[in-house]
């Protein structure tokens, strides 16, 4: 048992895996476009992106099922590129479980050990420890087809961990499960990672899942990593407009810069974060998260003066929605820019469609981008 469950990991920030200028081309098409990334030892890193963004191809190259067109994959400084997948000492959990249908749960988990010709006694001991870890002791003699989806995926995880690989790859492992079960398994997975201290590279298109599980998220788009960091940083301070629109919801305002901390919107001045090298009349993009903005009726706005560092834009309510714990208010400004304001239901929002409204936000909460393309602002973009 001690062979499998190690002491709590020391926070060792050593780089375990390095991807260097990794490319994968299919003819003229670049599925993975010059990716460089360092994965820390013991970290839980998620590749997040829509289908066709290159995240699964990158994982496949890590596993060894795809050969990079060019570039390097280093583990502890040694190249993996010419190492066949069965010698990479990597564990992998697949989307469709991919258990061996003709073997029992126990034999499925013992398979990697049998291939490595481990002595029977040690094999039994390790399989027992794994069955215990994933809480499937009483199902050891069943066939995979006799298990539920969640149980099958736990067998797959046990099979991938039993030989103590350095890295565990997970390719949308919970995609086929329903929401409740998925959340339970996400919690189990997070605890497992904490207990074992193994390096996990996880692929998903579900941003909530990525947020729940990972220490760092790499956001993929068109074969490139367009954002890398903790879920908190990526959400609060997206590095670019694409990440801002891809993660969560966002309001975009197009402004004209008037200096490094001032810009105009619909002819009126707004304060923005200090941004270096802004030219007068340069186009800049302002991003405000709906929950960072406040919607006030003109009466409320009258009694509640604008605090320093805050901005206010006049608009008209187009729709209010009650969503249970939260509520949203869609507004449109005089120039036709649509915005959404989100607030907790408890705070109240006495507005209805057609009402004039003042939208306020703190300039520190709004991100400023000087470069973007229109397609970045479209949530559906990201895949090829």
């Amino acid at each position: 048992m001690s062979a499998v469950i190690k002491d709590p990991p020391q926070q060792d920030q050593r780089t375990l895996v390095s991807l260097r200028n990794l490319n994968k081309h299919y003819g003229d098409f670049a599925a993975v476009d010059n990716i460089s990334l360092d994965i820390q030892n013991g970290e839980f890193l998620t590749f997040l992106g829509s289908s066709g963004s290159g995240k699964s191809t990158t994982l496949s190259m890590l596993a060894g099922f795809e050969q990079p067109t060019s570039g390097e994959i280093l583990v502890n400084g040694k190249s993996l590129v010419n190492v066949p997948p069965h010698k990479r000492d990597i564990g992998m959990v697949f989307q469709r479980y991919s258990l061996f249908p003709h073997l029992s749960v126990r034999d499925n988990i013992a398979f990697p050990l049998a291939i490595r010709k481990l002595a029977a006694a040690e094999r039994e001991e390790r399989v027992d420890a794994m069955l215990k870890l994933v809480q499937l002791e009483q199902f050891a003699h069943r066939r995979p087809a006799q298990l539920s989806g969640g149980q099958q995926q736990r067998v797959a995880i046990a099979r991938a961990l039993v030989y103590e690989p350095r890295i565990l790859l997970m390719d949308e492992p919970l995609g086929a499960l329903d929401k409740k079960l998925r959340e339970d398994l996400q919690d189990e997975l997070r605890q497992l990672h904490r207990r074992l201290g193994i390096t996990i590279v996880y692929v998903t298109h579900d941003q909530e899942e990525a947020m729940r599980l990972s220490q760092r998220i790499a956001i993929f788009s068109h074969g490139k990593i367009v954002g890398l960091g903790s879920g908190y940083d990526l959400y609060q301070n997206p590095p670019n407009a694409f990440v801002a629109s891809f993660l969560g919801n966002s309001n975009f305002l197009k402004l004209k810069a008037q200096g490094n901390g001032v810009a105009t919107f619909e002819g009126k001045p707004l304060s923005i974060r200090l941004t270096a090298n802004l030219q007068t009349d340069q186009d800049v993009l302002l991003m405000i998260r709906p929950e960072k903005a406040v919607a006030l009726s003109p009466d409320q706005a009258g009694v509640d003066p604008l605090a320093t560092g805050w901005n206010e834009v006049a608009a008209k309510v187009t729709e209010t929605l009650f969503l249970g714990e939260s509520q949203t208010c869609a507004v449109v400004t005089s120039s036709g820019t649509a915005m959404t304001v989100k607030a907790l239901s408890a705070s109240g929002m006495p507005l209805k469609a057609g009402d004039p409204v003042c939208v306020r936000w703190a300039s520190a909460d709004a991100c400023v981008y000087t470069q973007w393309s229109e397609s970045d602002l479209n949530k559906a973009a990201g895949a090829h």
């Binding site: 990597i90 992998m92 790859l169």
Partner: protein
Amino acid sequence: MLLTPNAMSPRLRWGLYSVTGLIALFLILPIVFIVLLSFGSSQWLVFPPPGWTLKWYQQFFSNPEWMDAALASLKVAVLTTICAVALGVPTAFALVRGRFPGRDFLYGIFTLPMIVPLVIIAVAVYALFLKLGLTGTMFSFVVSHVIVALPFTIISIINSLKLFDQSIEDAAVICGASRMQAVMKVTFPGIRPGMVAGALFAFLVSWDEVVLSVMMASPNLQTLPVKMWTTLRQDLTPVIAVASTLLIALSMLVMFIAATLRRRNQARIPS
């Protein structure tokens, strides 16, 4: 839903029942006749038989010519089965997994013997073996039978390989098995129903093959259907009915095995 049994008028329903019954009878009667005749006491194959006897069976089993032919048939069929599976498995892998130009064309080539008239294949193979001086050998029988059996074997294996999720094989590889080990330990068990069905098809094709066999046969080596064919042209003895009955019995046994395996396999997959 006009054609569900309950929605039909009773008249139509009974009409369909009787037509189906007649067709089934039409298919089964020759078999019933030949089996009954093999036990009949008349040596002129009179129906209905005036009495019952086992003497034709006695004659069959005591005649070395018949026994040799039966044994040769069995040998040819077993060897054909082995060769068809040995060739069919790698071919099916190439046709399903391979990514190369001309793959579909190759599939067409491999299944061509199902479409080309048997006589044409027979003449061609005969001409070739005549030139090589190999007619009448076990080799020529097996090679010619493999040609016609292979498409059935390949199609059967291809079907199960297409249904097999390749990520299961990949899982074995990432667990530490080499690609070959993964195929042997994981993929083969997974596609076994298709491999077994392909083997049984090959056996059946060879077991009752007559056109090619007539061409390949020599006085020293002939299969059961060839022996029946040549005997038939000399005299009409009920021993032919015995040979037919045995031919049918083994074929039905093979079909039965195939059906049992299929059922057991389906039972393993939960709904």
